[in-house]
């Protein structure tokens, strides 16, 4: 579905990433972990076409219109209602207004936000905004879903519930997913494979771990699976080895 090879990314000056190879098979739920500043967001932005790479290629088996990007923050258009925000992508794809609104309401209902369609983002809580943002992306029925720490700002209960809803949708649609997260438990309970990005400069994928828990999963039950604990420990060790170098003692 997605093949990244020899990717280098920079923002002027030294590249922050170099020689990244990463493959996500169709239907696979892949997670990308790694220390802060290692370049996870940069990789997603290249895949989404928001950032030009210095070198390397990104091959997609689907068109760019089939790629959905769920951002880390939940910035919605503040001057548009929840319904209009969800309908926006549909309107861009020339779906008629009435139909787009109807579908948007359906998505809001699915996200547990029935009756909130006329609210402006400023009148919603953080978790509600997040769910509007998810509806906005899923309403376009993407084949590949990119997510950048989508649930970082949510409390544990809301987070588990939204993750569960999303997993069910992923199963139903056989979505291919590339998720970026700091949360190792979330990474293991949701994904088929966890890639660990090393710390830069010139970071690269340091390790890839298969998750031996059968799908479909329930978030909470996955945490009780015998494979969960040992994998969590290995990921901890990988990440600890990739910590920022300590400053030299003076």
């Amino acid at each position: 579905m997605l093949r990244i090879s020899g990717l280098a990314v920079g923002y002027g000056g030294e590249p922050v990433l170099d020689g990244i190879d990463l493959e996500v098979a169709a239907g696979e739920f892949a997670t990308l972990g790694g220390p802060s500043g290692s370049g996870k967001t940069s990789i997603l932005r290249v895949v989404a076409g928001l950032l030009e790479p210095l070198r390397g290629t990104v091959e997609l088996d689907v068109g760019s219109r089939d790629v959905g990007f769920l951002f880390q923050d939940d910035a919605l258009l503040p001057w548009r209602t929840a319904r209009q925000n969800v309908a926006l992508g549909l309107r861009i794809r020339d779906v008629a207004q009435a139909r787009a609104d109807e579908q948007a309401d359906g998505w809001l209902q699915m996200m547990g936000l029935a009756g909130y369609g006329d609210r402006y983002p400023g009148q919603l809580s953080g978790g509600q905004r997040k769910r509007v943002a998810i509806a906005q992306v899923l309403a376009l029925r993407p084949r590949l879903l990119l997510m950048d720490e989508p649930f970082a700002a949510l409390d544990a209960i809301v987070r588990t519930r939204i993750t569960q809803e999303l997993l069910e949708w992923v199963e139903r649609e056989r979505l291919t997913v590339l998720l970026v997260t700091h949360d190792l438990e979330e990474a293991i309970s949701a994904s088929d494979v966890v890639h660990v990005l090393g710390h830069g400069p010139r970071a690269a994928i340091r390790a890839s771990h298969r998750v031996g828990i059968p799908r479909p999963r329930r978030v909470l039950e996955a945490r009780g699976h015998p494979a969960f604990g040992p994998l969590l420990r290995r990921l901890w060790e990988d990440l600890a080895a990739e910590r920022m170098p300590e400053p030299a003692p003076s």
């Binding site: 910035a75 926006l88 402006y120 400023g122 906005q136």
Partner: protein, 251 residues
């Protein structure tokens, strides 16, 4: 019922009234020279005579027409130039230095020049009101464009939006909220432009009356006109605020 005493509008009105009362009392007691500081009652009398005699209305209308036209032309000009500069770097290079200069100086100093160029009729004060408003609005539009939330731009792009969708969904609303944020100031500027234009040289308008009152050392008329202009501007501010609140409902 004690609540009204805490309500800020009531407290402010009470403070203003007591100030006027002190002024009036001081005048009556002979502590203030009425030639320089006529009592509020005298000012009110002059205002009443102006309004009742019908002399006031043509002047008020003349000033209001110039201010309103200046606001309109200034808005259109400011928005057009702001968009042009935001979309075409060449235009920005050309306009930005001029605008920065115009923004830095007190623009009312251009009034005598406009009088020389355009005569003492409507055109010169309209020009002054227009330029006061246009420079303000230019920066509102230009900054609104440049300070647009990058995250929203990226969001709309990943949803498949092109340039047209971006302008409609992100840039125009963002610029609108900036322009509305300057709108009240723009209304005040338009009025300032009209009155100052009249003050410098004209044959009618509130600024002309003010100039007349000053040249005849008529303090009561001068104060009456100042009070009148303040009242008109406050009224316009209230209208502008209502419009702002309607259009920025989403806040």
């Amino acid at each position: 019922m004690k609540g009204w005493r805490r309500s800020p509008p009531v407290r402010r009105a009470a403070a203003l009234l007591s100030l006027l009362a002190v002024w009036e009392a001081a005048s009556r007691a002979g502590l203030l020279d009425p030639f320089y500081a006529p009592p509020p009652s005298a000012v009110a009398g002059v205002l009443f005579d102006l309004a009742a005699g019908g002399d006031l209305w043509p002047h008020l209308a003349a000033t209001a027409a110039a201010a309103f036209a200046g606001l309109l032309v200034g808005l259109v000009l400011g928005i057009a130039l702001g968009f042009a500069a935001a979309l075409a770097p060449l235009v920005a290079d050309l306009l930005e230095p001029v605008m920065i200069l115009l923004n830095a100086i007190p623009r009312v100093i251009l009034a005598p020049l406009f009088v020389i160029w355009l005569g003492i009729g409507l055109a010169s004060k309209l020009a002054l009101a227009t330029i006061l408003v246009a420079v303000l609005i230019f920066f509102a539009v230009y900054n609104g464009f440049r300070e647009v939330d990058r995250r929203l731009v990226e969001r709309v792009r990943t949803l498949g939006g092109g340039r047209r969708v971006l302008i409609r969904e992100v840039y125009v609303p963002s610029v609108t909220s900036w322009v509305l944020g300057s709108f009240r100031v723009a209304v005040g500027f338009a009025f300032t432009g009209a009155v100052v234009g009249e003050f410098v040289a004209s044959s009618r308008g509130l600024g002309y009356l003010l100039q007349f009152a000053q040249s005849t050392y008529n303090a009561a008329l001068t104060i009456a006109l100042i009070v009148l202009i303040m009242a008109v501007v406050l009224l316009l501010f209230a209208c502008a605020e209502r419009l702002e609140r309607r259009l920025l409902r989403w806040r």
